[in-house]
Symmetry: C2
Subunit: 326 residues, 2 copies
């Protein structure tokens, strides 16, 4: 074995373009091909040409159905017959529940006690069986492990899984098919499943594109991990962006280090302001996690003047009875 | 002149397919071709296959930019040089202001004092000059007439105008290009500009389609006019659907009587419930006036079981600080 081969073997596995294409073929019959929308008033505000890939209009209201469907339809019959289990603050949970229903298998969902009511109701509506746990990663993982011990269900991790990453990458594939000459591509980062898939798909297709991770200042593990050169998880991040409270894993961190240009941080106030602009001007219901990828261009924190900027609107699941608008 | 020709001459003028096609060519460079979206959960609720033409995603946040652009770009240079004036509770006002800016001419806008703040701000942002008046038709018309006397501006009426009707009709043209085999087409009715244009375009293209007007029970002038066989205007309708407070005119009434199957009434509670479903499940910000055309299929008031139903989501301009969700 050569040194290069040895180095290759030490790196965590990762999806390539072929895997991503196969994922796209696998999930296409089930998901929406979401529209890419534009807004003259947000363009004027940003001083750039913005393109919004509307995964808030995706089935289950977020991109998560892409990865979950790819993972669950990749299982062989024996695996599938045991059912699946996952832990998630909400959108991945709903996605696993619906994809399992499509496949005709059972889904156990571990959710933190502080998950939004709307997201809990969605899991229930799709037939997922919920177990609540404390809102931290350790409690989630322990609870899921116990369910696996009892049921033999297969874990569908929200991001530490090549099949999930390949599935999430398909949004960027569609995005660049529609707007091939993007200069920037912005996506929110939490565990890194969406961002790592996005980065692989986008850089392979268009090597000059700059992929930017967008993160709440109040949940800045990716930013700090980038600076430190190693994974620095956060245990109790407190941000309105309830979809972005997880931390990177080794697999996603390795991909981000290679393909992502920079991590931009935004404050809670900037998240709410960006969310409000998108609701008011674009007439799109987006959740705070989506607004995290809009804020950097509206605040001018990211220099994009005159450029073509793609923004992944990751989801639209909010509790209408508890909106942050004054 | 034959009797048939005489009868023809007595009927109010109306746009035909040629006029509508010309309008579409005239406005296409300026407007969005809005997407048609679907929702599995609303389908399940309605027991039908629903298609939503998203004019809430249109420029200015409503279909009104179609008619306003057609009318303003139809003016000759001499007319245009005098500027335009209109009266409107909001969406037509913003549309006239923006279309006038595109044409490079002045726009005077008469708005009722109870127009939503968001709609007032939009008119100002597009450079329209606002004059406020009492919230009734007579006050609006008198104020506009006085502005015409002082400035020589050309009136761009919100619905009593063939160029406006032809412009609004282009949404139905696009809708049927995308989904040619609709069984029903639902649109809200106020002054009848959208509904009459929709009805002409849809029935010419697909004679078997059933075009349904949807109206708040609290502003039921079209329903009562249909029953009486003559125009019965309402002076002070009080409904959350702020875009539907105007009454039919002779021109739009004549078209509706010929081409519209029925007028369905919905209550204020049904409007808010339908609005909430569309926000929650479809992640679309729609205004109450749009929800008026959704409510009949969600409540089961209109029998559409198993049918293909097109719904025109007319607009998405709401005040986020004053939402009707508990």
């Amino acid at each position: 074995m050569s040194e290069a081969e040895r180095a290759q073997n030490l790196r965590p596995s990762r999806p390539d373009l072929e895997t991503i294409r196969a994922a796209h073929l696998r999930i296409a019959p089930h998901i929406h091909r979401t529209p890419v929308l534009t807004s003259a008033s947000l363009d004027a505000m940003a001083g750039a040409r913005l393109y919004f890939k509307c995964e808030n209009l995706q089935k289950t209201g977020s991109f998560k159905i892409r990865g979950a469907t790819n993972a669950i339809f990749s299982l062989n019959e024996g695996e599938a017959s045991q059912g699946v289990v996952t832990h998630s603050s909400g959108n991945h949970a709903a996605a696993v529940a619906l994809a399992a229903r499509w496949r005709g298998i059972r889904a156990w969902i571990v959710m933190p006690t502080n998950a939004p009511a709307a997201k809990r109701r969605a899991v229930e509506a799709y037939g997922g069986q919920i177990t609540f746990c404390e809102p931290n990663l350790r409690a989630r993982e322990l609870t899921a492990t116990e369910i696996i011990r009892q049921t033999g269900a297969v874990l569908v991790h929200p991001f530490d899984d090549d099949r999930i990453i390949a599935g999430q990458a398909t949004a960027a594939v569609e995005f660049l098919e529609e707007v091939p000459d993007l200069d920037f591509l912005l996506a929110p980062v939490s565990g890194g499943g969406l961002l790592s898939g996005t980065a692989i798909a986008a850089k392979k297709r268009r090597p000059t594109i700059r992929v930017i991770g967008c993160e709440p200042k109040n949940a800045d593990d990716a930013f700090r991990s980038f600076a430190a050169g190693r994974v620095l998880p956060l245990d109790h991040p407190n941000t309105i962006a309830d979809g972005l409270r997880a931390s990177l894993c080794e697999k996603t961190f390795a991909i981000l280090r290679e393909h992502v240009e920079q991590i931009v941080l935004v404050t809670e106030e900037e998240i709410v302001a960006a969310m409000r602009y998108v609701w008011e001007r674009m007439k799109l219901v987006i959740e705070p996690s989506s607004a995290v990828a809009v804020a950097p261009v509206l605040t001018g924190k990211l220099g994009v003047a005159g450029k073509k900027v793609g923004i992944l609107l990751s989801g639209g699941n909010v509790d209408l009875a508890a909106l942050p608008f004054g």
